[in-house]
Symmetry: C2
Subunit: 412 residues, 2 copies
């Protein structure tokens, strides 16, 4: 049954395995999903729905692992991109959208006086570290244990291939443990260039965790006191919680913000924003890439920001995520399962309280949802977009109810 | 005069300086060109021509610093991209173009059995080092002195912000000095994971240098003898010299090839290709990015490779570059200047033999050409595309003749 449902997808994976190490690499590797229960290759996307290469359709809650914040192929974004594309994209020099987007981001972001653009979240997180090091003349950077800040050597979760020296300037502390960070400052007087932190903890394979009262504020105060740059890695959460940067939800303004994913609704772009005090250092650090100033993604980002504001997307995603989370809690409870919904509503995640470290229940649940036409990840947070409405959330909850029921029979 | 010619460009630069460190950052920074003689912002591009925000038109020999190999907005590439765009681009899982492009590149590339895709040249050069280190269990990598392999800490030309530790695993030798590399191997028995090298030396601020007879072949033999991976950084030269990788011009097949720039005619994409012996290591190294498998650039790359083959673009660029180089030599000589044309014809560069380290003559010459409607860089190699034809080359030579004449008067 599952073989025929994903026959073309599986054939493509077979071809891929011959010419791509592992068939599919990185975060899209099929081993991260429930084998046999998910398509490995998709063919079409629109709004909050994707279709796989076998023609199966899904209500999608991964949004391309975050970038699709307004819905796939959003008309306003596509129109802006197409208008720009008819003129130019990659060139010797930037086009006007570079300036317009930098102005727009600076205007909506508390504490930001400048912006730089790259292509990956990894790019801008590493760039932020270099700027903090250049500004302070210090080398040490503090980050939360086992936090994903990209794939460069200093932070790659998998150390295979990266020399130990890549992590030599890094100290770590536990999420929400302000005392541990104070200890690092105390042990390294005048040595900390930066603290880099996500606005909430959103690691795969565990419940998401919001910042405890005073945690982000405490980091802000410590950084200010010690002349250390506070860097927020807002790559995953950015533009889903607050238009001015996610930590504004906790009234905390960092020294630098790293954006990517949702910034251009699927077009490849990342941005690093920072304050006046770091402008000179930002000018002295040399980072560039052939495609860093291509105009189409910058034009797409301008339209994305416009539309996020125009349709109150952030408020809408919060309402839809809340509806999803509450509905899942109800249906899990009715089926006799204790589940935890974690993270902010627009970047929700659900785990089964009794699940083992292999996430067996989540895998079966997500796999059954996939067969029912809903794309949820078994052990990575999900994403709501502005294209999810009450009808699609309610349809999702019906599929989830079925999946809880099937799971109960499996476990009975 | 020059103020009014670039008035809107200069205004934009003023706005940019308020919201972007340095106004324009990286390789497009206006300080790399002749101040006042070049536009800082472009607005339109088609074929081999670009137009700036003031409406000035140029025959362009920078090709976006390399990516535009078929000409800006090439109809066949744009059609393929648009067809894909109507279906999907960035998603949770890859689309079919991922597999098709990997198959296509493997099929045309001697020694390649697999391909991985990223967004920047920097990404794939660093990825290649990690794979070589994972495969060999060794850390040391040899590279040529002062070679640009991107902006990651191990190779960034400007060390500001990057800890010394980032370069700890790097040994360097001089271009074309095979003996020096032999010395590194001798001093570090069984310690070299990789040698990374460009197919020819194409650093800014100096004449390009082709490999001496036996240099690339010697590196190949040393790597094979010592179980070291030979990595070719073909980011800049790839797809202009040979469809199977630039070192095929010297009949040398490396263990890994890094591509970006011209691969997708301006769409953001990079690729790392390697042989069977490195497949397991390539699977074990975790590198990924949100946009690494987006379908539109992959579809654009497929169309680019098809068109490169269909129109014998590589042969055409060689002929056009030769016509340009010979024409410049003639006209320089007629005007009483000794110049050196260096590099392969399709990635040509010209320097004035009597020029100082500030490249004063080159700056004046390139600036005068810009005013005459030809975009040449004063101290970075140029790029020919398939859209340059005899008419545009000859028009360029007329402008160059004028520029040589004006330069002679300035110097007289």
């Amino acid at each position: 049954m599952s073989q025929s449902r994903y026959q073309r997808s599986d054939e493509l994976l077979g071809r891929a395995e011959r010419v791509i190490p592992g068939g599919i690499y990185g975060h899209q590797n099929p081993r991260f999903l429930t084998p046999g229960a998910f398509p490995c290759f998709l063919a079409e996307a629109e709004g909050c729905r994707v279709r796989d290469v076998d023609g199966n359709s899904f209500i999608d809650f991964m949004c391309g692992y975050g970038p699709i914040v307004l819905g796939y192929r959003h008309p306003r974004v596509e129109e802006a991109a197409q208008r720009q594309r008819r003129l130019c994209d990659t060139m010797n020099q930037p086009g006007e959208p570079l300036v317009e987007l930098a102005e727009r981001l600076v205007s909506i972001t508390p504490g930001a006086d400048w912006s730089l653009f790259g292509k990956n979240g990894s790019d801008v997180c590493t760039w932020a570290l270099a700027i903090a090091r250049a500004a302070t003349g210090r080398e040490l950077v503090a980050m939360v244990d086992d936090t994903y800040h990209g794939v460069h050597g200093w932070c790659n979760h998998v150390q295979t291939g990266f020399p130990d020296g890549d992590r030599s300037g890094i100290a770590t502390f536990a999420w929400n443990d302000l005392g541990a960070l104070e200890g690092i400052f105390a042990d390294n007087p005048s040595r900390l260039a930066a603290v880099i932190i996500t606005p909430f903890r959103h690691e795969a394979l565990e419940d998401s965790q919001l910042p405890a009262t005073g945690f982000l504020e405490g980091i802000r105060a410590l950084c200010t006191k010690h002349g250390t740059a506070m860097i927020v890695d807002d790559v995953r959460a950015g533009f889903r919680l607050h238009i001015g940067g996610s930590t504004q939800c906790w009234r905390v303004t960092p020294d630098m913000i790293c954006y990517s994913k949702a910034l251009a609704n699927g077009y490849p772009l990342s941005a690093l924003l920072g304050g006046e005090a770091l402008r000179t250092a930002a000018r002295e650090v040399f980072v560039t890439g052939t495609f860093y100033t291509q105009s189409v993604p910058l034009a797409a980002a301008l339209a994305t920001v416009d539309e996020l504001e125009a349709c109150d997307a952030i408020g809408h995603m919060k309402r839809m995520g809340t509806r999803l989370g509450e509905g899942l809690l109800e249906r899990a409870s009715a089926a006799g399962f204790a589940v935890t919904i974690s993270g902010p509503p627009s970047i929700p995640f659900m785990t089964f309280d009794q699940d083992g470290e292999r996430f067996e229940r989540s895998r079966v649940f997500a796999g059954t949802c996939a067969k029912g036409g809903v794309f949820l990840h078994p052990y990575h947070n999900w994403f709501i977009s502005a294209a999810h409405d009450e009808t699609t959330i309610d349809a999702t909850l019906e599929v989830a109810e079925q999946a809880f029921a099937e799971l109960r029979e499996t476990k009975a």
